[in-house]
């Protein structure tokens, strides 16, 4: 089976099938996550349909073997790695030289992509989307969960789908070009946005609290040092569970005493 470059432009039937199956299976990347090799079997699971299309029903043992190794990256960036890997496997199967050893390619990209994805999605997009949704939830709007899902999953799915296409059709060159998106800087912007919105949210709550107590809003400034103190605790590794339980218990005790 040939999956050569002439199939670009109009995608041939097997290529379309390969990409679709890989995309769907990328949602199951971490199903067998384990402490020994993390996502290794998940990655193999994701590219198996592609390998079957490339090699037919008898996939060479050494091909399977190299994809059983330790693997761990950000789940949303795994399709890009899978795309490029399948492109290289296809090149290799066609008897050409993929330029880079496939195993070392996976080892080279997994840690940087994990770092990019962790800070972009877990550190940047998710808090930002959640805080925007919380502003809506504060109004009692049931749109809040839907807005959160939309804001988060748009970049998520673009990353999975676009990454897969980029990796498969662009290969190593395209993966190198990820630098031009400046993703780490984008995550910094998202984080800054989240922090500003958090500040606004806390100020709004402080204001609302003062109104309910019939005291001027300037008393709300007391909240600021408390928030900074808690932030400091969190940075030193105090868990949120501990903080919330201690805070609420002391409030309950105060309420009972007075």
């Amino acid at each position: 089976m040939m999956l050569s470059r002439k199939s670009e432009g109009t995608m041939s039937q097997p290529v379309r099938l390969l990409l679709l199956k890989t995309f769907v299976r990328s949602f199951l990347l971490q199903t067998s996550w384990n402490f020994e090799r993390l996502q290794n079997l998940g990655f193999l699971f994701m590219i198996l349909p592609g390998l079957r299309i490339i090699y037919g029903s008898r996939i060479p043992e050494e091909v399977l073997e190299r994809h059983k190794d330790y693997f761990n990256t950000h789940p949303y960036f795994a399709p890009m790695v899978a795309g490029a890997t399948l492109r290289m496997e296809a090149t290799l199967a066609a008897g050409e030289d993929p330029q880079v050893d496939i195993s070392s390619f996976k080892k080279m990209v997994m840690a940087p992509f994990a770092a990019i994805g962790d800070s972009l999605f877990w550190g940047g997009v998710r808090p930002l989307a959640a805080i925007i949704a919380l502003f809506m939830a504060a109004q009692g709007s049931l749109w809040a969960p839907l807005v959160f899902l939309a804001l988060f999953n748009l970049p998520h799915l673009v990353c999975r789908g676009g990454g897969l296409l980029l990796g498969y059709f662009g290969g190593l060159r395209a993966i190198e070009s990820i630098q031009k998106f400046h993703l780490p800087d984008l995550s910094v912007r998202c984080k800054e946005g989240s922090i500003i919105l958090l500040g606004v949210m806390c100020a709004y709550l402080a204001h609302k609290g003062c109104n309910l107590q019939d005291i001027p809003s300037c008393w709300g400034f007391i909240i600021l040092p408390v928030a900074l103190l808690f932030a400091r605790f969190a940075r030193q590794g105090v868990s949120s569970m501990f903080l919330i339980l201690v805070t609420t218990t002391s409030l309950l005790a105060l309420a009972l005493v007075f």
């Binding site: 840690a111 940087p112 770092a115 990019i116 962790d118 190198e176 630098q179 780490p184 995550s187």
Partner: protein, 162 residues
């Protein structure tokens, strides 16, 4: 220039370094001392793509490292120095990079290694290298992320593998 952290980490530039160590030690420059990466333009580009523009990333061979560290570019920088393995850490010292303390982060298992903690697996060469470093006056500690407890590496090795 001041070196704020020297770390052995087989994943080199990754989440633990960027999200946990860089803010904790307030580093604004990461120096990766590794011959393999320095000679591989693809890996260098990918590594650069993972680092925000507020942090300077320099990748060099072990031979170049002491030269890089003494360059005027880094005069006011707080540097985080990364090695891939214990051998590189020892070699760099021989080539004139001096540091008082070495942090062991991730050292992955392969044939011939014993696992000493969740993230550290050492073979006989590693242990030999670390002993030599220690004889040269380097304090060696194991600490994955800043919120973990710092542990002397002797304690780790004495408690045995798991």
């Amino acid at each position: 220039m001041s070196i704020v952290l020297v770390r052995v980490d087989s994943r080199l530039v990754h989440g633990q370094v960027l999200e946990a160590w860089v803010p904790s030690v307030k580093a604004d420059c990461i120096v990766v001392a590794n011959d393999g990466v320095a000679s591989n333009s693809f890996q260098r580009t990918i590594m650069q793509a993972a680092v925000p523009s507020s942090i300077k990333l320099i990748i060099g061979t072990l031979q170049e490292t002491s030269h890089i560290l003494s360059s005027t570019d880094l005069l006011k920088k707080r540097v985080l120095l990364l090695f891939d393995n214990s051998n590189d850490a020892l070699e760099a010292r021989r080539l004139g990079v001096s540091y008082p303390k070495l942090n062991l982060g991730n050292m992955h298992s392969s044939a011939g290694t014993n696992r000493y903690s969740c993230t550290i697996a050492l073979d006989q060469d590693d242990i030999h290298n670390l002993h030599q470093l220690e004889e040269q006056g380097v304090t060696i500690v194991a600490q994955c992320v800043p919120s973990d407890r710092e542990q002397g590496w002797h304690k780790l090795v004495r408690t045995g593998s798991w």
